[in-house]
C-alpha cells in the first residue's frame, strides 16, 4: 500500500521548479484495472459516488448497459460496454471502466492556463483544484482521453482524483476498495506491473495470446493501467486509443508558441523604444507649417482663378 504524501511535482501555468526535496522512494502509484476480471456490476461507480459525494441526475435508459452514458461532472468513472464478435464467431462482452488515466505527461495540465488549477503529485496522481479552475475548458482540449468535464452549474472542471484524499492517508481509492471481483487493484506502479505480468501470463495460458498491459508510452505511461485480453487492439474496448499522445496542435499551442509569441511581442515593443531613442520622432517643423499654409493659400488662389 502506497503511503506517499501529496507533495506536488508539477503545477499548471507555473514555470518555476516546485519543491522537490521529498520524492517517494517507492516510486509512483498506479491503479490496475483487469478488464478480463470485470463483471460490469458498477460497484466502482457507486463507490465513487459515495466517497466523493456525487449524485448525477437520473438519465434515460437508452437500451444499453452504459449508465450514465458518459462521464459527467458528477460521474467520474463509467463502465463502457462493448459487444465484440471475435474470430470464432463468438460474442465477447468487453467492459472497461473509463475515467481519468492519470498520465505521467498530462495534456490537461499542459493546456491549463490557471496557476495551480491542475497539479500532479509526486506519486503520479493528476488532480484538479477546482478553487483555482477558471472554467475555460483548455483541459478538455489538452486531454488525449476525453476525460475532463466542465460543470454547467459552477463552470469548473471535474474528473477522477484517484481518490487522492484517500491515498494521502494510506488508503486505496474507493473503487478499488469496493470491487467485488478484485478486477481493480492499487499499489506502487512497480507492484502493479508485477501483478499485471502475472495476469497477462494467465490470460495467455488460456488462449488470449495477445493479452497485455495498457500503459501507453505516448503520454509517458499512465497511473491507471489496464490488463486487456486483446492488447493489440485496444480500440475494441470502446475506442481506447492505441497510441494516445498530446495532440501536436496542443503541443504547439502550449509548447514552443508560448515563449516565442511572448518574445516576439517584447521585441516589437523594444524595437519601438530603440527606434525612438536612436532615430527619434517625426515632427513637423515650424518652417514646414509655414510652407503648408503658403501652399494652402496657393491652392485656394488657383482654384479661385479657375472658377
Amino acid at each position: 500500500m502506497a503511503l506517499q504524501s501529496l507533495d506536488i511535482k508539477r503545477m499548471s501555468a507555473t514555470t518555476v521548479q516546485p519543491p522537490e526535496a521529498r520524492t517517494p522512494v517507492t516510486g509512483t502509484v498506479a491503479k490496475l484495472i483487469d478488464v478480463s476480471k470485470c463483471i460490469g456490476c458498477k460497484a466502482c461507480q457507486t463507490a465513487c459516488m459515495e466517497w466523493n459525494d456525487l449524485r448525477d441526475e437520473i438519465g434515460e435508459n437508452e437500451g444499453v448497459y452504459d449508465n450514465p452514458r458518459d462521464l459527467t461532472p458528477q460521474s467520474w468513472t463509467v463502465m463502457r460496454f462493448s459487444e465484440v464478435v471475435n474470430n470464432d464467431d463468438n460474442l465477447e462482452w468487453l467492459i472497461r471502466k473509463d475515467g481519468c488515466m492519470h498520465c505521467e505527461d498530462p495534456g490537461c495540465l499542459k493546456a491549463c492556463p490557471s496557476p495551480g488549477a491542475i497539479i500532479q503529485y509526486t506519486n503520479g496522481i493528476v488532480d484538479f483544484n477546482q478553487e483555482n479552475c477558471i472554467g475555460c475548458g483548455y483541459c478538455v482540449a489538452g486531454c488525449p482521453f476525453d476525460v475532463p468535464r466542465i460543470s454547467k452549474k459552477d463552470n469548473r472542471a471535474y474528473k477522477c482524483t484517484l481518490c487522492s484524499d484517500r491515498v494521502a492517508v494510506g488508503q486505496e481509492p474507493a473503487c478499488v476498495k469496493t470491487c467485488p471481483t478484485g478486477a481493480i487493484t492499487f499499489g506502487t506502479k512497480e507492484d502493479m506491473h508485477v501483478h499485471a505480468a502475472e495476469r497477462v501470463e494467465d490470460l495467455k495460458s488460456r488462449g488470449f495470446e495477445n493479452a497485455g498491459v495498457y500503459d501507453p508510452s505516448g503520454v509517458g505511461g499512465t497511473h491507471v493501467m489496464y490488463v486487456l485480453h486483446h492488447a493489440d487492439r485496444p480500440g475494441l474496448y470502446h475506442g481506447l486509443k492505441k497510441d494516445p499522445r498530446i495532440s501536436p496542435l496542443v503541443g504547439l499551442w502550449k509548447g514552443v508558441a508560448k515563449p516565442l509569441a511572448l518574445a516576439g511581442l517584447a521585441v516589437t515593443a523594444l524595437a519601438g523604444l530603440f527606434h525612438y531613442t536612436r532615430i527619434g520622432p517625426n515632427e513637423v517643423s515650424s518652417d514646414e507649417e509655414a510652407a503648408a499654409l503658403k501652399e494652402a493659400q496657393r491652392i485656394r488662389e488657383t482654384q479661385d482663378e479657375t472658377r
Binding site: 490557471s114 488549477a117 475548458g137 496542435l249 511572448l262 525612438y276 513637423v284 507649417e289 485656394r300 482654384q303
Partner: protein, 219 residues
C-alpha cells in the same frame, strides 16, 4: 468639406478636421476593448502573464468576460471598417511606399511617394486587422466553452485554440506598431483624440489628402 473651420491650436495655427467625434468614439471603443482583450488573453496564454487576470477581476471573470468583450470589439471594429474601407484600398504608390520602408523608419519622408489619406503601412494594418478579427471571432466562438465549444469536434477545438493564439499574437504585435507609430509621428495622437491636425502635419504626412481637403474636395 472637412475643414475644422475656425479652429486653431495653441500656436495659432489653423486646423484640419481628420476624424469626426463619432469616428473618434468608434475608434476608442474598439481600442478599450482591444486592451482589455489583450491583457486578459495574455493572462490565459502564458504563465508569465497570468497576473494580468486581475484586470478583469480574476480568472473566472476573465474567462466569463473575455469573449463578450471580444464580440463588442468585433462589432465596433466592423463599423470602423465600414467607415474607412474606401480610404484603405492599396494603389501603386502604397506598394512603392512599403518598398521604401527604410526611408519611412529613418524619417526621410521627402523621398517617399505622396501619400493620400492613409499610407501603405496604415492600409496594410487595416487588412491585417480585418484578417485577425475574423480569425479571432471564428476561433473564439469555437473555443467558447460555456456556449459553443461542445458543438465542435475536439480537433477543431484544438485547431481553433491555436489559431486564436496566432491571430492574437499578430494583432497585438500589429497594434504595438500602430500605437508606436502614433507616438513616433508627432501630431497623430491629436488626430484621434481631438480630431484635428495642422496644415503642416497634413502636408508632410498625407500630401495628396491635404491637397484634396484644401481644394475643397471630399476626401
Amino acid at each position: 468639406m472637412k475643414h475644422a473651420d475656425g479652429q486653431y491650436n495653441k500656436e495659432g495655427l489653423p486646423l484640419i478636421l481628420r476624424y469626426t467625434p463619432n469616428e473618434r468614439s468608434n475608434h476608442w471603443i474598439t481600442a478599450i476593448c482591444f486592451v482589455l482583450l489583450a491583457v486578459s488573453g495574455l493572462a490565459m496564454f502564458h504563465p508569465a502573464m497570468a497576473w494580468m487576470a486581475m484586470f478583469l477581476g480574476g480568472g473566472q471573470w476573465t474567462r466569463i468576460l473575455h469573449p463578450f468583450i471580444g464580440l463588442v470589439m468585433f462589432a465596433s471594429f466592423a463599423v470602423l471598417v465600414l467607415r474607412f474601407w474606401h480610404h484603405n484600398l492599396m494603389d501603386k504608390g502604397d506598394v512603392q511606399w512599403l518598398k521604401q520602408i527604410g526611408d519611412v523608419v529613418n524619417n526621410r519622408e521627402d523621398q517617399l511617394p505622396k501619400v493620400g489619406r492613409y499610407n501603405g503601412g496604415q492600409k496594410l494594418l487595416f487588412f491585417v486587422l480585418i484578417l485577425c478579427m475574423l480569425g479571432l471571432l471564428a476561433s473564439g466562438i469555437v473555443i467558447w466553452r460555456a456556449y459553443f465549444a461542445f458543438y465542435f469536434p475536439i480537433d477543431v477545438v484544438r485547431f481553433a485554440a491555436l489559431l486564436h493564439a496566432f491571430c492574437a499574437f499578430l494583432i497585438i504585435a500589429s497594434i504595438i506598431v500602430h500605437v508606436y507609430a502614433g507616438l513616433w509621428v508627432k501630431g497623430s495622437i491629436g488626430a484621434m483624440v481631438r480630431g484635428t491636425v495642422t496644415y503642416g502635419w497634413a502636408k508632410k504626412h498625407h500630401e495628396r489628402w491635404f491637397e484634396k481637403v484644401i481644394s475643397g474636395h471630399h476626401d
